[in-house]
Symmetry: C2
Subunit: 360 residues, 2 copies
Amino acid sequence: MSKKTTIYDIAKKLNITAATVSRALNNNPKISEATRALVLKTAAKMNYEQNKLALALKSGKSFNVGVIVPRIDSNFFASVIRGIEEELHPEGYHVIICQTHDQKSLELANINSLLNAQVDGVLMSISNANDATKPNNPKEGIDIEENSIFDNLIKKNVPLIFFDRKKDIKGVSSIVIDDFKGAYDATQHLIDQGKKRIAHLSNNRDIEIFKNRYLGYKQALIDNGIAFDDNLVIECFSKVADGRKVTQKLLDMKEPPDAIFSVSDFSALGAIQEILEQDLKIPEDISVVGFSNEPFTKFMELSITSVDQSPTEMGRIAAKVFLEEVNNDSKIKSEKHVVLSPELMIRKSSLSSASSAVTA
Amino acid sequence: MSKKTTIYDIAKKLNITAATVSRALNNNPKISEATRALVLKTAAKMNYEQNKLALALKSGKSFNVGVIVPRIDSNFFASVIRGIEEELHPEGYHVIICQTHDQKSLELANINSLLNAQVDGVLMSISNANDATKPNNPKEGIDIEENSIFDNLIKKNVPLIFFDRKKDIKGVSSIVIDDFKGAYDATQHLIDQGKKRIAHLSNNRDIEIFKNRYLGYKQALIDNGIAFDDNLVIECFSKVADGRKVTQKLLDMKEPPDAIFSVSDFSALGAIQEILEQDLKIPEDISVVGFSNEPFTKFMELSITSVDQSPTEMGRIAAKVFLEEVNNDSKIKSEKHVVLSPELMIRKSSLSSASSAVTA
DNA sequence: TATATTTATGTAATCGATTACGAATGATGC
DNA sequence: GCATCATTCGTAATCGATTACATAAATATA
């Protein structure tokens, strides 16, 4: 319908050039107050709105950032994105969402696609794809083949920020929680409740967060003089059904566990369902602790103890780190590593005595 | 670091012009096979990637769409966005997320901001801000002052699609669920269970969805010969705490209700908590039905009956309608109104007899 | 008054692509 | 051998902004 008005339209109407209009609109000092006022008034009258696309092409800044997550319909990722959006919106940035569904190929495709769209930065949580088929690179945390996915970003000097699930790449900042501590605290809590045979529902430990939770769990056992038993550690997906399945196996053991610490709230829920099904009592017979503090853990009548990751805060900080990097003109670039402290939310699924208060 | 390579770089290297390079890259027939192959090979060698920004400026298509929601960290909206992203990504579109936090001012600001960014379309669910202070326009569903928010979009011919919370605007498509039917079915179900005094936790009925749920509830009562009692309808926010508060009032009545139908799962949960607190039995004494099928309703031990809105499907369809509109070159523009049928998920919170099966 | 110095504006290049138009080349037909 | 035509490629405009440089006008200085 009505074509968008450009600075040329305004220029023509006022018999001046587009350059003058541009200067008037941008508070350039080299212009008379009279013409500035005139241009501003005319621009308003003609409903002028700056074409950010043209500006982006000229300036090389699109004021768009890409956010890549495995999926958006999980409370954790949605909350992180919420934090990112809230922090970046006032600064004039738009947030572009990409999902990988845990496929490495989509991860690469999304990065390239975002680069073509000229985003000013990429904030991402890496995918959970199973890389187990490839031989592990012995150099701790550095897998050259893997990192080549991010080469394009780094070569083009586009800020990359990892949150939650990161890779160790030189020059790349990251915001994570202290997964080791989260797991350690959860395990210690179970031990404090008198539990001695604590199982661990793990997940792909090629991913740092799952490895660290595993290590935190193990260390807490060791520090309390409890023998670590490999048979009590089972890998399982973050799904209710998978949690049920592996819990069934645990309960079938000669010496079943008296507590379960899961890296996921969903598998923790599956564990609870299976335990109750077998007419065992929670937390008396078996205590259960999850991870992520998904909303439902608080809502259940038998509320589930879980580790809160303050996802919105994580998103906010990731956004702030991005802003620092993108506004840093100096050549000295520093990577920043923020580690948030997790908070154990103690609830009914693990609180043996009625004495202590339950966290809201 | 390494500047991005442009078609001019390729042209210079091959001693041809950028026009030829562009033609080679775009499968333009007016070019020899020899040069095309040469250009393609050189482009690959130089790691050429098309600058979508330049393309967008030239073509007027940014291949970005804006999605505006009250907030992203609710399962419903996150799921809708998931559907939108999954449908639009294969078509080459990026999804830009904006949150309004239910503020009309942010709604307007976001629309304008997206327009400046030259998005190809806007998919949105309108905010829940209370317009009650303004006198209602008698013309059903058409509020001129309100709609002026969308004027810019319509004037510029940018496709606008509403999902879930819509306004009736000429030429604007919408995807909603049949909220009337959802509420009707829920109420009928409660009546089928023998309930006779059914309360309704409503919400701001200036919003269509809440109005329709109210009307569906009312009609079900009437159709079953149950007198409608205004005292049993209470407005309340979609929050657990608010649900508790108003339920307390309901239970304090001389004749308390024997069932509660809530427009929100969260206030339904609050209701349940309050009911159990008062040592009443669910569903024997009081049944509770929510709306939205939030994940936690299924997970609770006392699972909550709720109305599923198939949000991912809603997002997919919204995206498809957008694609139809954006790909429609003809001048005949038609608005499309898709109404999805909601599905009542019957669970323990309302199923009196153990005879019937509970939906998963 | 003549010169120096601001101040305000215009000219034109630039960002990186696409494309209408025109020109050069070679092939074809008679 | 020459007109005709198709093929292939170059020229230059365009999308809508910004900005270095040039220039004209206005003001200050001696």
